[in-house]
Structures are given as C-alpha cells and as structure tokens.
Amino acid sequence: MKYPISLTVNGEAMEFSVEPNLALLDLLRDHVELTGCRRGCDSGYCGACTVLLDGKAVHSCSVPAVAAHGKDVLTVEALVRDSRLHPVQEAFIEHGAIQCGYCTPGMILSSVALLGENPDPSEAEVRSYLSGNLCRCTGYVRIVQAVLAAGEAMRGKI
C-alpha cells in the first residue's frame, strides 16, 4: 500500500507515492537524489542524515516520508544562495571544522537551526544543541568555534 504525499524540498513542490516504511532519508537520497543527507547508522543516533523539517533539525532516517507530507524540507544543497555560502558554511571552512566531511552537512544544518532559534548561543548551548550530530574526526573543538563565529558574523549583518 502506497500513500500519496506532497512536500516542498529546497523550495520546490514535489509529489510522491511512498510505502509507509520509507524513511525521509531514503526518499531524499534515492528519489530526489540529494546525497547531502547522509546515511550513517539508520537508527537516529549519528545525525549524519540531519535535514531541516519546517525549520527544525531532524534525523531524516527516523522520520517516515509520510510524516513529511505538507511540510517544508531543507537540505544542505539549498544553503548556497546566489553562489554565496551560508555564514555557517564559511565558518566551518575557515575554522578547520571539516575533516572527512561526512558529518558536515548535518552538523551545518543543526547549527543553522540553532542560530535560527538562538542567534547568540553560549559555548555550552552550542555543545548541547549539536550533541545529536556525531563526528569521529575532529573532536568537535573547531566545529564549536565555527558555530560561535558564524553566530557572530550573522549578528553583525542584522
């Protein structure tokens, strides 16, 4: 039994007919071909699959695609606007917050969600908010620095 769903992905309206057990992650990777949401553990722990669902960071491996019906999905592919990087992306590059890069899109999207909710987070708030995004390369030091710096840059622009 398949269910018809309609949703917006990176600003584009889309319709699909999906099995109820299809994860949003699989819909995005296999049907929309957006590989910036990454498969890591398929169990909601690593956060590599993070996307923004109506602006909130979710682990897309643990969200059924049918639950995204009528909602707005944003992936890392949509962060670049007019060939300009999002300040969080810029900060990740500048601060050396990227190594293998596999967790990076999820980490960046969680950071974007955080700075949307709290434009001036403390280091502890950044660490708490990003605790659902695992990274095995960096030890997180530069990721935290990058998010704080991006927040500062974004506040400067307002």
Binding site: T35, G40, C41, V76, G96, Y102, P105, I143
Partner: protein, 770 residues
C-alpha cells in the same frame, strides 16, 4: 618559518568548500546504470566446519542475479604480512560475522530475502575466546595451517601448531642483571578493550567486472592499491587487471584499509555481468569488520631510588581474533614501543599476537601504541608516586633525546620529547595547587611509521602552467590533499592554488601503499619532492634555453622563472610549458619514487636494528580531571596534547589531527568498549556503543613542537595517529592524582572508579617491592 613560502602556513583545506556544500561523491553515494545491490551472508557460529552450502533457492528467487560462495574465490588469501584469510569462507568459519556467501539482486530487500534462503550446514567446532587461553596447550587451534601460510619474513614470526601468529622479541642488555641493580621492582598487569573505528560513512563500494577479466571498483578507501591487490586475490587475476578509483572517503582510521566490501562487489559483478553495490549496515561494521586489539600487558620495571629506570621486562598478549588482518604488524610495533621512550639499558620484550574465534582485530588509529603506552605510562606514574617523585620529573629524567640509543638499538634522531612534556605540563598548569578530587596526569607518547612501504608521485605541468599532482594518497579527512599540494608547491616554486590534486585511480596514479601508519606526509611527501624537483629541473633547462642563460643561474619562484638578480629576464611557467608542449621536448612530467631503503629489518631473536622504522614521532598528553566520589564519574577539565611532528607542514590541519585523535583517545580511556559474550558482540550499535558527542569531549589544547627530521619532506614526520596515544594513561594518572585509586583496566568507567574507591580503604592498589 619564513624560509618557506607555502609550507608551514595554516592554510584552509583545498576540499573545504566542496565538503561544506556537499559537492563531493562518497563511496556510499556512487551509482551506475543497471546497478545491482549486494548483501553478505555471515557465519552465525564462532568456529565451525562448513559441510554444505545450498544456494539453489536463493538463486531461484525473482530479482536475484548472482550468488557467490567460497567456490567462486577458491584460491588466494588476504593478509598484510601473513596471508591467512579467504575472501569467502571455504571449509571453515572462524568467527561470527565471517562472510560465507554473497547475493546480488535488483534491490537490497530482495538480496536480504535471498540470504535467508541460502542453506548452510555447519558442524560446530570447539572455540576459544580468550587470548591467554588460546596460548595454552590443548586450546582449539584456529588455523591448523598456520605453518604453511605465505608470509613476509620481515616483522612476522608465527609459531606453527599454536595460535600465535606473531611472536615479537626484543632483547637488550641483560634484564636479570638489570633487576639485580634495581633498588625497587614494580610489576603490574594492565588490560585494554576492543574499540571500533566508527567511521560515520559506512563501508561502501561499487564494483564492475567484464568478461575480459578487467574489473573496476569505485571505493571508499584509505588504500586503493591494497584494495586492488585484494580484489585481484578474490578474482584470481593479476592486480593490474583491477582498477580502483577512490571516491571520497567518510573516515577511515584503519577500518577502510582493506577490500571488505569491494572484493564481494567484484565477485558478484563478474558472476552477474552487472555493476554491484554493497553498503555495510552499522551492525555489520561492528560485528564483522575489525577492532582495535584487546590486550593484556604485564610490565616489570626495575628502578633506582632517584627514579632512574634500569630494567624492564614486558609481556604483551594481543587478542587478534580470527585473522591476522594487520595485527602481525601491530604486534611488531608493540615490541618497538614496549620500553617506552626511555633510556633503559636492560630490556626484554615478548609480544604475542594470538588467534581467537572473535571478529578480527586489525589496524586502528594508533596501531598498538595506545595499548602499550597505557600500560607503560601508567606504571611510570605508579613508580613516581611510590618513590615520592614528581611524575613529570621521572619522565624527564629518563626520556630519550637526540642521540639516545633506543631499546631496539637505534641512535635516535629528531626527538622533541622533553619539550613536548614541558609544554603539555605547562598548558594544564602542572604545578598548581588543586582542590580535593581534582588531579592532573601526564603521559609520554611515541609512534613509529611502518617500514618498507614505497610511495611514488607524478608532477605534470599543464599547458596553462598550473601543476598537476598525481599520487594514490587518499585524503580520508586528515587533509593530505592540502598538505601534499603544499609540499609540491613549495618544491616547485608555485602557489598552493596553482596545484591541482588528482583523484587516486590505480590505472593512472602511481603506486602507494595507502593512508595508513601516519605515512602519507613522510612517504608520499618525499616522493612528491623528488617528482617536483624533477619537473622543476626540466622547466629550468627549457627556460635556460629560451632565456639563453645557464640553468644554474635560474630560479623558479612565485610561478616565474628568472635569472637570479635580474627581474627583466623572466618567463612565466605558462610560457615555458607552452614551449614544451608545442616546440621543444613535449609536455613536462616529473616523477619521484621513495622507499626508506636505509632501514634494516629487526633481528628475529633480539628485535635489534640500527634503523627499524622510517621515523619516530614523540609527544606528551597532559590532563586534569575532576572525579565525583559519589558517582565515580571522571570529567576531564583540561587536556593538552603536545606533538613533535618534525615540521608542521600545515599547523591548522595538524591541530585538527591532534584534537580529533585526542577525542578518540579519550573515548578509549573513559567510555568505549565492545562487549563480547563468547564470540558475539552484545553492543553493536551507536545506541549501545556510545561514541562521544560535543557534550562529552572537552576542549583540547594542541601544542606543536618541531624537531625536524633529516629524511622528512622539509623535516616533517607523520601526524595522523599519535594523538590517540597517551590520552588514556594521562587521564588514568590524573584520576590517581585526584582520588588515589589506580585502575589498570580500560575503560575507566564510573563503575570501576566507584568500586576502586570503595576498595581504597583496603589498600589494594599498588604493591611494589625491592
């Protein structure tokens, strides 16, 4: 610093923009038209004879296109120095999770369903799960054919008829005489647990194989040439009939240095005639790839009252699991590290790598050194406290320095150890008074790179004058593309943005043994210097012709070739390259090959060699912890990790390596443990095996110390692994300083701390005596 224009600069990584925007293709992302999906059937028994395999029902399932078993890869064995592992089980399985068959089907669900239709008849065999038990007479023998396996006699000394696949010995001085001279003798036994790499990108590959015998693999790998070799073993073809192209690799840490998915892709592709993709599940990664070696280490050390170390006897038992993987070399390296970075005249080491019926242990960031230095550096701390000496002073008193003789007989060079110790200690304010339940600890760290693995590089000058750099070094996150491009740019005399780094492809990029053993900067870097110097001399020769000058009077800097002392007589690299392309000599290609051929194999009986390894890097980790006596929770409040990498080619990226490795080392110290019930892993998920997140890992202060190495590119050594080493003893030593309990078994969980605190009153901790 200012002697270089590109080397030594904290430049951002070349692939940062692509990765921040997800414009990269990882192994798991790759697809081909007509591609099938593969799944692997794995043993459910730790040790069993395979009586029969019936694949007929699986083959009959609609959508299934190929099933392979051991019969499809009937000869050839995988291995590093000892070749002991069939690609697919033949007559026997030796661990739960061992590949027995593989299926390719139109989708993963069909392939998964087909696995359930394969009938395997097993006869269970007695199994052994404890390495020490596996060494006893009468233990089940995991590899009765050990004596007939092909091996590289350097570094690997198996004991046929037993489960010992390597016995590494070091004999220096006379250890009995040394103990007789000692005023105190300490003897302690330490253990370490299995740890998983936990690359966030699962192992993944796509393979294609034609009827002409040529196979192609799109891999997520640390070592394209090693994957090539193993795929060739599986297919029974010469290695050059396999082409391995390295997709982006989402983390390796030792776990992606072999063909653990790739070989099955090509076997299934050959049988089905279609490309096949396999992605391991997280459960498979935990239960069926490799782990860090669990170990039991007994150390006996003789010492003078002033803290001078005079004798050390070490016995190491590494639980290798069912196959050698790279464990035979881990064992050899453990022997190299067993005395610690100290001047000890009398040393005896016996390190054993032992087969058991568990998932194989293999290469993992640190490669045996986190284990051996956990033991050695904990014991040095025990000694210091017992003798009433400052643990930092005891280390400084005994530490090796330039010109010291190592316990394997090498005159040491490029030794920044003492400076690392001082700086790490100072970074956590070593001398400060601390409140109750807070303590500080320090540990030395050291690591060699593995010997006798060659590298090569091509440098081509494009028609636009920009420089193409071709190597088979994979940037698995460590930043090697950037560091290698910096080395190339520096040697050529161009800017970093003038260098284009090629994607490793074994049909076109020259041989290299992989991003393992912290060897890329040193080995590939040296090959690149040679290749760039070759290209540069060709450029200068042609430019000399064009400028009617002698090549000896020319220089190449900032992308320009000019007569020294004259700014007017100059050419751009573009002008020279264009001339080469169209008028004289043809396109300019530089080549460089590097092998550390000055090395001398260690003696089998004594482990002695005047130069056993390419380089040794040194460092120190210092930690400050708070211990909650109510809960037993250890919280790291400060950590500094100081490293002598010879020369920091890129301090920004080096700091990232130090911080990241320290986090993995801290996880090893405090939290992570693969729990076994017999041969079964009971916590194979991120839910039950917790890797640390942003809230657990403290800020780590990286410290760079430079003691340039005469053989390294611009003096550089390696950097990838060392920061994982030394964290556990630094934290354990800080724990002791805080609450006076000594725990000798990793990880330092709150349960163990609480138990130790309860027992403290009984005085059970340390019992040395003269």
């Amino acid at each position: 610093m200012s002697q270089f224009s590109v080397v030594g600069k904290p430049l951002t990584r070349l692939d940062g923009l692509r990765k921040a925007t997800a414009q990269v293709t990882y192994g798991i992302d790759f697809k081909l038209p007509g591609m099938l999906y593969g799944k692997i059937l794995r043993s459910v028994y730790p040790h069993a004879r395979i009586l029969s395999i019936d694949t007929s029902q699986a083959e009959a399932l609609p959508g299934v296109k190929a099933v392979v078993t051991g019969k499809d890869a009937p000869v050839g064995l995988f291995g590093s120095r000892l070749y002991d592992q069939p690609p697919l089980a033949r007559d026997k399985v030796r661990h739960i999770g061992e590949p027995v068959a593989a299926v390719a089907a139109v989708d993963e669900a069909t392939a998964e369903k087909a696995l359930g239709l394969i009938q395997v008849e097993y006869e269970e065999l007695p199994a052994v799960f404890d390495a020490r038990e596996a060494m006893q007479p009468g233990a089940p023998i995991v590899h009765p054919d050990l004596g007939s396996y092909q091996r590289n006699p350097l570094l690997c000394y198996p004991v046929p008829g037993t489960n010992i696949l390597n016995h590494m010995r070091v004999r220096r001085g006379n250890v009995e005489e040394g103990f007789a001279q000692a005023e105190f003798i300490f003897e302690d036994t330490f253990t370490t647990q299995a740890q998983q790499h936990c690359c966030i990108e699962p192992h993944a590959a796509v393979g294609q194989a034609g009827l002409d015998g040529k196979a192609t693999v799109w891999a997520s790998t640390q070592a394209p040439y090693k994957v090539r070799t193993e795929c060739a073993v599986a297919l029974g073809v010469p290695p050059s009939r396999v082409r391995v192209i390295a997709n982006q690799c989402g983390g390796g840490f030792g776990g992606k240095s072999r063909a653990r998915v790739d070989a099955y892709c090509v076997l299934l592709a050959r049988k089905s005639g279609r490309p096949v993709k396999i992605v391991l599940t997280r459960h498979e990664i935990f239960t069926a790839t490799t782990t860090r070696h669990p170990s039991t280490i007994r150390i006996k050390t003789g010492v003078k009252a002033d803290g001078t170390l005079v004798a050390r006897e070490v016995e190491v038992i590494l639980d290798g699991g069912a196959y050698g993987e790279a464990g035979e070399i881990v064992c050899w390296e453990v022997g190299q590290g067993a005395a610690g970075p100290y001047r000890i005249p009398h040393v005896k080491v016996d390190a054993y790598e032992v087969y058991t019926n568990k998932v194989p242990a293999g290469a993992m960031r640190g490669f045996g050194w986190p284990q051996i230095l956990w033991a050695g550096e904990s014991q040095v701390d025990i000694i210091a406290h017992k003798l009433g000496l400052d643990p930092l002073e005891v280390r400084l008193r005994n530490a090796v320095e330039e010109g010291s003789i190592s316990h394997t007989g090498e005159v040491l060079h490029s030794v920044g150890l003492k400076e690392c110790l001082r700086q790490a200690a100072s970074a956590i304010d070593w001398e400060a008074e601390r409140p109750p339940n807070r303590g500080r600890g320090i540990a030395c760290l050291t690591k060699i790179s593995v010997p006798f693995l060659g590298s090569s590089a091509f440098v081509k000058i494009n028609e636009d004058g920009r420089v193409g750099l071709l190597t088979s070094a994979t940037d698995i996150g460590q930043g090697s593309d950037t560091v290698l491009a910096q080395i190339c740019a520096e040697e050529m005399g161009v800017g970093l943005s003038d260098v284009e780094v090629a994607v490793p492809d074994t049909d076109t990029t020259p041989p290299d043994m992989g991003a393992i053993a912290s060897r890329i900067t040193f080995h590939v870097g040296n090959a690149i210097r040679l290749a760039a110097a070759d290209a540069r001399s060709q450029v200068l020769a042609l430019a000399a012709d064009m400028l009617e000058a002698s090549p000896d009077d020319l220089d190449l800097a900032g992308g320009k070739i000019f007569v020294r002392g004259s700014t007017e007589r100059a050419l751009t690299l573009t002008e020279v390259s264009t001339a080469a392309y169209f008028r004289k000599g043809g396109p300019i290609l530089g080549r460089g090959s590097f092998l550390d051929e000055d090395l001398v194999p260690t003696d089998e009986e004594t482990g002695q060699s005047p130069k056993p390894s390419p380089y040794i890097k040194y460092g120190a980790t210092a930690a400050e912890v708070d211990v909650d006596p109510e809960t037993g929770v250890v919280k790291v409040t400060k950590m500094a990790s100081a490293h002598d990498c010879g020369r920091a080619i890129n301090p920004l990226l080096l700091n990232g390596q130090i911080e990241g490795g320290a986090a993995t080392g801290l996880a090893f110290a405090l939290w992570e443990e693969m729990v076994f019930d017999g041969g079964r892993i009971t916590n194979p998920s991120f839910m039950d095996y917790r890797i640390p997140s942003t809230v657990e890992v403290p800020d780590v202060q990286p410290v760079i110390v430079e003691a340039p190495h005469s053989c390294g590119p611009f003096g550089a050594k390696g950097a990838g692994e060392a920061s994982t080493i030394g964290v556990a003893p630094a934290v354990g030593n800080a724990l002791f300083d805080a609450v006076k309990v000594r725990i000798k078994d990793l990880p330092l969980t709150w349960e163990k701390v609480l138990e130790a605190l309860e027992k403290k009153g009984e005085g059970a901790s340390v019992a040395p005596g003269p």
